[in-house]
Symmetry: C2
Subunit: 204 residues, 2 copies
DNA sequence: ATCTCATTGTACTTATAGGTACATGTGAAG
DNA sequence: CTTCACATGTACCTATAAGTACAATGAGAT
């Protein structure tokens, strides 16, 4: 029973990976099952054998993303141990965007902007992903605070939300302008703001 | 010749307005010409009489937005005369989002996130819109600077970019979480950061 | 060798997207 | 009161989206 489901699982994962890439590249609405099927070199039979529907596929893709974030196997590392790590967190995403020639945004933001009131399930999947990311970031700020390295006015949860919204806005503007300039500006300003919450930081 | 084109111009504008609303609500890919036609109570004949194609319509919609921003007739006022105006600028967008029950994001950001490499014209339209917005915001910061009210480290262009990316990220997260909390957090943090560039501001 | 069930392949189906073709209406200028 | 250009209405049309139906294959259990 060891390899009983191995072949299928591989096919399934191949479809998910291809879909994730296409969703990132062109969004979910612009990506048809047929396109995923062709790019993954599978067939209709396989597609609908492994996924109820297109929505089911989107859900599975997001699950895989979520697991990668949780387990730390994602391209971006969300476990921060220092301010240097935080900088790396920001810049890792900029670099990823650059590697696609500034033609793509954040994989989650891209999908998130497409959700309407009929995509409640997907919206919740995304909400959960961002909640997990937020808590990972917050953990860092909370640790800093517990060591007395943050000023009293600092609110770790707000700081985490700020990080996420900042990088989302930055990447969206980067995609629209096809330039990394705005992204880098935003990241630097955001970091400057966050560092302002460190004890003993000279303003700006 | 006064009313010669009046009727048609009205129909045209009606289509544009309906389309703008649908694009804002559900994005451009999820909005078909048929839907626009029905919601605007027109017909195929009229639609394709006034617009070459769906892409043409999107372009026209963005032109109308652009003109509204330039002329100051948009729902959000981009001409800032004071820091209070800047706050209002941020919060006006939050209020607008709230008025839709947090189900929508920024009209431009929503469309911007949908553009792929095949939508170069639309992408440029959006780029232009954001450039105009940026310059309007920058004008305020430059005026402040010229009156010696900003610290030397302040960069007016970067500050303007920061404003735009911040509000974009905020609204996107607001739409995904369906909550105004993140949005308000982001706006307050962003304002705090910007105010840090004022001369004589106590840090944070 | 066969049975069984996961897996895969192919053909068909319905609805919608996006657009054309063409016919008709209408109102102001001549 | 006709005419011509703008304006509107209706009927197509082709491609694609999303999904179903069902047949065929193939590897481990018996």
């Amino acid at each position: 029973m060891r390899t009983r489901f191995a072949r299928g699982a591989e096919t399934r994962l191949r479809i998910i990976r291809v879909a994730a890439d296409l969703f990132h590249k062109q969004g979910v609405r612009a990506t048809s099952p047929d396109e995923v099927i062709e790019a993954s070199r599978t067939g209709k039979g396989q597609f609908y054998h492994y996924f109820r529907s297109k929505e089911g596929l989107i859900h599975e893709v997001l699950q895989v993303h979520l697991e990668a974030i949780k387990s730390g196997t994602a391209l971006v590392k969300y476990e921060l141990g220092s301010w240097m790590d935080l900088e790396r967190w920001f810049f890792a995403q900029v670099e990823l965007q650059k590697s696609f020639g500034m033609t793509r945004g954040c994989p989650f933001g891209t999908i998130g902007n497409e959700v309407t009131e009929n995509d409640e399930l997907i919206r919740q999947d995304l909400s959960l992903i961002f909640e997990v990311v937020k808590s990972k970031l917050a953990v860092f700020f909370i640790r800093e605070e517990s060591q007395g390295r943050l000023v009293r006015a600092a609110d770790e949860n707000r700081m985490a939300d700020f990080c996420i919204a900042a990088i989302q806005g930055a990447m969206l503007m980067g995609k629209i302008t096809r330039s990394s300039q705005v992204v880098e500006t935003m990241v630097r300003e955001a970091l400057a703001h966050l560092k302002g919450y460190r004890t003993g930081s000279k303003k700006a």
